[in-house]
């Protein structure tokens, strides 16, 4: 091997870059996000009627697009009624419909958003719910 000093330095830098996630995370116990659905408002419903405006699987991956559609619907078209796939009507409102049940922003919204490094700009216009520090 010629120029072995430079070659080895280069390879170490390469390996350090590529394996960065592995050693950066080494020995850290990362807890999975665990969004809480146990607000008093949700508890009031009987077990079999606890459901969101759309199925859970859809909401988990696509809630941001639903909310964006809601925003456009209200702000641009003045339409405050949402009819879900099952034909049930809901009032379009982040604060009065979503947050009525999901009143626990910290344990519901932020839990996953922080984990996935998502910073939604909902609360630049809407008033953030005041929660007691627990």
């Amino acid at each position: 091997m010629y120029n072995s000093r430079n070659i080895i330095i280069g390879l170490i830098i390469f390996a350090a870059f590529v394996t960065f996630p592995f050693y950066n995370n080494f020995g850290k116990a990362v807890t999975k996000p665990d969004p809480k659905l146990d607000t008093p408002e949700i508890q009031k419903f009987p077990e079999n009627e606890r459901r969101c405006v759309e199925p859970k699987e859809f909401m988990k991956a696509g809630h941001m697009q639903l909310l964006n559609g809601w925003r456009d619907s209200v702000v641009r078209y003045g339409n405050r009624i949402y009819v879900n796939d099952a034909g049930k009507e809901f009032e379009i409102s982040l604060q009065n419909t979503c947050m009525k049940c999901h009143s626990n922003k910290k344990k519901f919204c932020d839990e996953c958003h922080n984990y996935a490094a998502v910073k939604p700009y909902c609360w630049k216009c809407h008033i953030e719910p005041k929660e007691k520090e627990t």
């Binding site: 010629y2 390469f14 590529v18 592995f22 991956a61 490094a117």
Partner: protein, 332 residues
């Protein structure tokens, strides 16, 4: 021919992931085993290639000289284009690696009005190449949100710059669009410029289609056919801590597996293809050597000290035979 072949190879790769996950339910294979194999192949392959290159001696300095060589003190030398010092070489390499300086010099020439040869500037290749590499780099850095917890400081910063147009939700990232446009241009260039098309092989088209597939599957997954990103991160964090959680595999959409499989293909293919120029650019003797042939003595490593057989030694060895044959000798 090469175009269609590469295109169908990528299509088949997509179908393999599709059938493997949807029909054969091989979530564990595609979500956990193949990514490990791919990253291992990538690391070992690159190291193997670099070590193999390093076994070739570089006996003489062969930098391409693009400017005035350093000579007499009153002649101004070109420190970056014909570097005579290590610092100059570092500057030259940095410009090459970060800004593709040599590609910037790309020129086109053609015959006009019969026998008149004209030269012109040709910057599109440089621009598209730069756009491709930098947007790809930004995209890789952005993906660190799936590989670090807490997420590293530069990720939100990068995302806010990348998504500053605030189009749609999730915010449209400019880098994804730039990558797609650049790779499309680089492909069309190979199709529409006859000279370039003539020298293009399947191994030129394949990475382009593969990158196109990766970028478009990523964009589709982010904006159109959503996958639960939290489950994805649980999977990636599990992978990097060597403790993957197979429970989340089933809940992630097929598009994620296609995206992942194409990336694994890219990583595994990397060391054995033209893509290894990522490492090779640093080992280009025409770039990484200082032009100091006349200032320092460079000794050829494979034959120094030169083994010589002097006439005296020759005569000592064969004197008896020479005398027997009647050949005159200098020493009796």
């Amino acid at each position: 021919m090469g175009t269609l072949f590469s295109f169908f190879v990528v299509i088949i790769l997509v179908l393999i992931a599709w059938v493997g996950v949807k029909a054969a339910n091989l979530h564990f294979l595609f979500g956990i085993i193949i990514p490990y194999i791919a990253i291992l192949t990538f690391i070992v392959g690159i190291i193997y290639r670099v070590v193999r290159w390093s076994r070739s001696p570089v006996p003489f300095r062969i930098p391409t000289t693009c400017g005035q060589q350093k000579s007499l003190p009153w002649i101004k030398d070109s420190k970056l284009d014909n570097p005579s010092t290590t610092l100059g070489v570092i500057g030259r390499m940095a410009l090459e690696v970060l800004l593709f300086r040599s590609l910037f010099r790309n020129a086109k020439f053609e015959l006009r009005e019969g026998a008149k040869l004209v030269y012109g500037s040709a910057k599109w290749l440089w621009l598209a190449g730069l756009a491709l590499h930098w947007s790809f780099f930004v995209i890789i850095l952005r993906h660190f949100r799936l590989f670090t917890e807490p997420v590293l400081f530069f990720v939100p910063l990068l995302e806010s710059i990348d998504g500053f147009l605030q189009i749609g939700v999730p915010l449209l990232f400019v880098s994804g669009i730039v990558l797609l446009l650049a790779v499309t241009y680089l492909f069309l260039r190979r199709i529409f410029i006859p000279e370039v098309r003539y020298i293009s092989l399947a191994s030129d088209y394949f990475p382009l289609f593969l990158i196109f597939g990766i970028a478009s599957s990523g964009i589709l997954m982010r904006y159109f056919f959503k996958v639960p990103v939290v489950d994805v991160k649980v999977l990636t964090m599990g992978l990097i801590s060597f403790n993957p959680d197979p429970k989340v595999l089933e809940g992630i959409g097929i598009l994620f597996y296609i995206h992942l499989f194409l990336i694994c293909t890219l990583f595994a293919y990397f060391p054995f293809s033209k893509l290894v120029h990522m490492a090779g650019v640093f080992l280009s003797p025409t770039r990484n050597l200082a032009n100091n042939n006349r200032m320092k003595r460079h000794i050829n490593p494979w034959n120094y000290p030169v083994k010589v057989h002097t006439y005296e030694a020759y005569e000592d060895e064969f004197r008896k035979f020479m005398k027997d044959a009647g050949i005159p000798v200098e020493k009796e």
